[in-house]
């Protein structure tokens, strides 16, 4: 599939052309359907239930009563079209159903048919089309499965909507309904199952993790000559670090993990990982299921209590930080067992940034000699969370840390960063090989903006603070003619620049 992908042309991001509509261009794009073995451990029906239509509509009614966002957003869209040219998947594919409003309408049409007086009345006499009401047929359900898995829940559309309508809320609800009638997304559900069973997305058991960390400690010793520890399950440590499991061995993620270890070492703060909470990611957010999300988050509370830590810090991960920053207090709070002097929870970049400001660590830019950096704002960090104590800290703090570590930093085009950042193309549970075609096309707007600063400013590397962004770019950069190692962790740059006290 990926081999046939037509790479969208890269032009000037200031003059980005809106593609002409290509109806059904992505109608065949869909992820693998989850098997009973993936659905049942999560409490979902194994496969599509016979009375799925009735059950699905009932679940929709339940969600409409539980989520203000869904209920309000179903009613108030005026079809103004402000969002139509904002989604990276539309810009990369031209498929009109990837325009946010059209994607929402796949859901809204069913809502109108079964939950609005006019839709019910006109639908009953076959005139639903007049008010955009549709029967919930198998064709509609198939459309849902395909197109709600072409949304990375990045919220870019919600920035531009005059009513703040967030397609992520709609795609989460759609996925929750599909799970509840037995039509699951294999990649997401299999991973959530692994978190419940083993503790992390990668299915890495405790002993393997410990073994792996020992190897990393040896690497750090070889590199720095110092005993930089990667403690696990250390009771009484000050800080519990919760980080995406990709940080334990995927590149460039692991280089970031080594950076965190160096920062903690240099700061002289005691910290620990936990074999119980070995995963910061929470894929239950992608399937829109509150109960699953809470169950996954609860491991963090349990680990923190068992180890008696005073602070919880999250590693570089986009949606994990959304769940941590925006939802953790709701899901597993109140966290009054933690030290009230620090934010609960804290981001590793907030920790490092504080140290830099206070002179608690020394950085030497020559450690990153020859590198010209740009920064990819990860969508969930940018539009669904914050860092620091001021609005927009999530844009300032990573950039300040990077600037302190590298000789030259350049931002990409203003329409592609900050709150207007583009998703990497692999977020929202789309980071699976069978979706490679839509992933490559969806990354086009980011690749175009990157290409622009590479040409104009000689940018050599792009830093990111999300495990999904890093994995996605590692895969798609070569398709656009870039080196896969161009994508780096922010703490990889810190790791290269940090000056550790010598033992002379």
């Amino acid at each position: 599939m990926a081999a046939d992908t037509k790479i969208p042309a890269m032009g000037d991001p200031a003059e980005r052309a809106i593609p002409c509509l290509q109806p059904d261009a992505m109608a065949q794009s869909k992820p693998y359907v989850a098997a009973p073995a993936h659905n049942e451990p999560l409490g979902f029906p194994g496969e599509l239930v016979p009375d799925w239509q009735e059950k699905g509509i009932a679940r929709m009614g339940e969600l409409l009563g539980k989520y203000k966002s869904l209920q309000v957003y179903m009613d108030i869209c005026v079809k103004c079209g402000a969002c139509t040219d904002k989604c990276h998947y539309f810009l990369g594919t031209g498929d009109p159903k990837n325009m946010p409003v059209a994607r929402q309408d796949l859901f809204r049409s069913v809502y109108r048919r079964y939950f609005t007086p006019v839709g019910k009345a006109l639908g009953a006499v076959g005139m639903g089309k007049l008010v955009g009401a549709r029967e919930f047929t198998k064709e509609v359900l198939d459309e849902w499965f395909n197109y709600f898995h072409q949304c990375s829940q990045c919220r870019r559309c919600s920035v531009f909507c005059p009513y703040g309508i967030d397609t992520a809320e709609v795609s989460m609800a759609a996925r929750d309904i599909m799970d509840n009638i037995g039509l699951g997304h294999k990649y997401a559900n299999e991973i959530i199952g692994k978190v419940h069973k083993i503790g992390n997305n990668l299915g890495l058991p405790g002993p393997a993790l410990i073994d792996n960390l020992e190897g990393l400690e040896e690497d750090l010793k070889d590199e720095t000559g110092q005993d930089i520890r990667m403690p696990v399950d250390q009771e009484g440590a000050e800080i519990l670090l919760v980080t995406p499991s990709a940080d334990f061995f995927a590149e460039p993620h692991v280089l970031g993990l080594m950076g965190y270890a160096k920062v903690f070492h240099a700061a002289g703060t005691s910290w620990t990982l936990s074999t119980k909470a070995t995963e910061a990611a929470n894929f239950a957010m992608f399937i829109g299921n509150y109960e699953q999300m809470q169950k996954i988050a609860m491991r963090i509370r349990e680990a923190a209590l068992e180890l008696g830590v005073k602070r919880i810090i999250f590693g570089e991960c986009g949606h994990a930080w959304r769940v941590a920053y925006s939802f953790l207090n709701t899901l597993i709070g109140p966290m009054d067992f933690l030290d009230p002097r620090y934010p609960k929870p804290q981001h590793i970049l907030e920790f490092t940034y504080d140290l830099i400001k206070r002179g608690g660590i020394k950085l030497d830019k020559s450690g990153n000699d020859g590198m010209v950096l740009t920064f990819h704002d990860s969508c969930n960090v940018a539009r669904a969370s914050r860092m620091g104590d001021f609005a927009g800290g999530q844009f300032v703090i990573p950039r300040e840390v990077i600037k302190a570590c590298v000789p030259k930093f350049v931002d990409m085009h203003a329409d592609t960063i900050g709150e207007k950042t583009f998703c990497c193309g692999g977020g929202g549970g789309l980071l699976t090989d069978e979706l490679m075609d839509v992933r490559i096309k969806g990354s086009a707007p980011r690749m175009e903006a990157l290409n622009d600063v590479v040409k104009r400013e000689g940018v050599t590397h792009m830093a990111a603070i999300c495990a999904i962004c890093k994995a996605q770019f590692t895969k798609v950069l070569p398709t656009y003619g870039f080196d896969r190692e161009m994508i780096v962790s922010v703490h990889q740059l810190v790791s290269n620049a940090i000056v550790l006290g010598n033992n002379d």
Binding site: I18, C20, L21, L64, K66, Y67, K68, S69, Q71, V72, Y73, D75, I76, C77, V78, K79, C80, G81, A82, T84, D85, K86, P96, V101, A102, D105, T116, P117, V118, L130, V131, G132, S158, V159, F160, C161, P162, Y163, G164, I165, D166, Y290, Q294, Y325, S326, F327, N329, T330, G333, P334, P345, A382, R383, A384, R386, A391, G392, Q394, F395, E419
Partner: protein
């Protein structure tokens, strides 16, 4: 005709008030279980209220999204606002001074409203993406508003109606005293379409007017680490688990 319009306006008014009231109650009642402001967001509830105010008064997000559309929407909505203010004189006696002062500008409001609507209509047809997302009800809504505006302007510019009698009719309605409405076909069309607009309001996308105040991505403050946010059903879930 007088009786027909009297009944029609009582019915339309009742459905508008009850319908929108029920919708607003539903929006207010439905919990928002998670903190989902689109960030960067104001850090305080007062800041969030100000953000909603900017969306309502200035269409802040739309300005970020699409400048021509922002202009058309502004022209239409400001025009409509002036027209509505100008029409208040049919419902109050004596007319408040500020409304008297605004009377001459009401005409320009009517023109602006029609121009904005026409632009929005053309845009819906001409731009491929917008045509794709437009359904029959989207065109009908614009047509309805255009017809209301056009019939209203005709009574001002072409064939004047007896506005003193019209005012008497509406003041009468408000005290349940049915007084004669002038037998003017343009007036009849104008009033019929306005009643129709009132009738469809609670069942259509016109709900964006009250709905925008309830949008969690706009009305929530960015303070999840400082204040624990818990919906009643989530609290119930928590009690069951413990």
């Amino acid at each position: 005709m007088t009786t027909f319009f009297a009944i029609l306006f009582y019915a339309a008014f009742a459905i508008l008030v009850v319908g929108v009231g029920l919708k607003v109650a539903q929006y207010a009642r439905t919990p928002a279980p998670l903190k989902i402001p689109t960030t960067p967001a104001p850090l305080t509830p007062a800041g969030a209220a100000f953000r909603v105010g900017r969306e309502v008064a200035l269409f802040e997000s739309l300005f970020k999204a699409n400048k021509p559309l922002w202009i058309f929407a502004m022209v239409f909505h400001l025009g409509l606002a002036l027209v509505v203010v100008r029409h208040l004189r049919y419902f109050i006696d004596p007319v408040w001074a500020p409304i008297v002062w605004l009377q001459p500008f009401g005409i320009y409001g009517g023109m602006a409203m029609l121009a904005g609507l026409a632009a929005l209509f053309v845009r819906r047809i001409v731009i491929q993406r917008i045509a794709y997302i437009s359904g029959p009800s989207d065109y009908l809504m614009l047509a309805l508003l255009l017809a209301i505006g056009a019939s209203g302007m005709m009574m001002k510019m072409v064939a004047h109606t007896d506005i003193v009698a019209v005012k008497s009719f509406f003041l009468g309605l408000m005290v349940f005293d049915i007084r004669a409405l002038p037998a003017d076909p343009i007036l009849a069309i104008h009033l019929f379409l306005v009643a129709l607009l009132m009738l469809v309001f609670p069942f259509s996308k016109l709900l964006h007017a009250p709905g925008v105040f309830f949008s969690p991505t706009r009305n929530q403050a960015d303070d999840p680490r400082e204040r624990r946010h818990l919906a009643p059903w989530a609290a119930q879930l928590e009690r069951e688990r413990n």
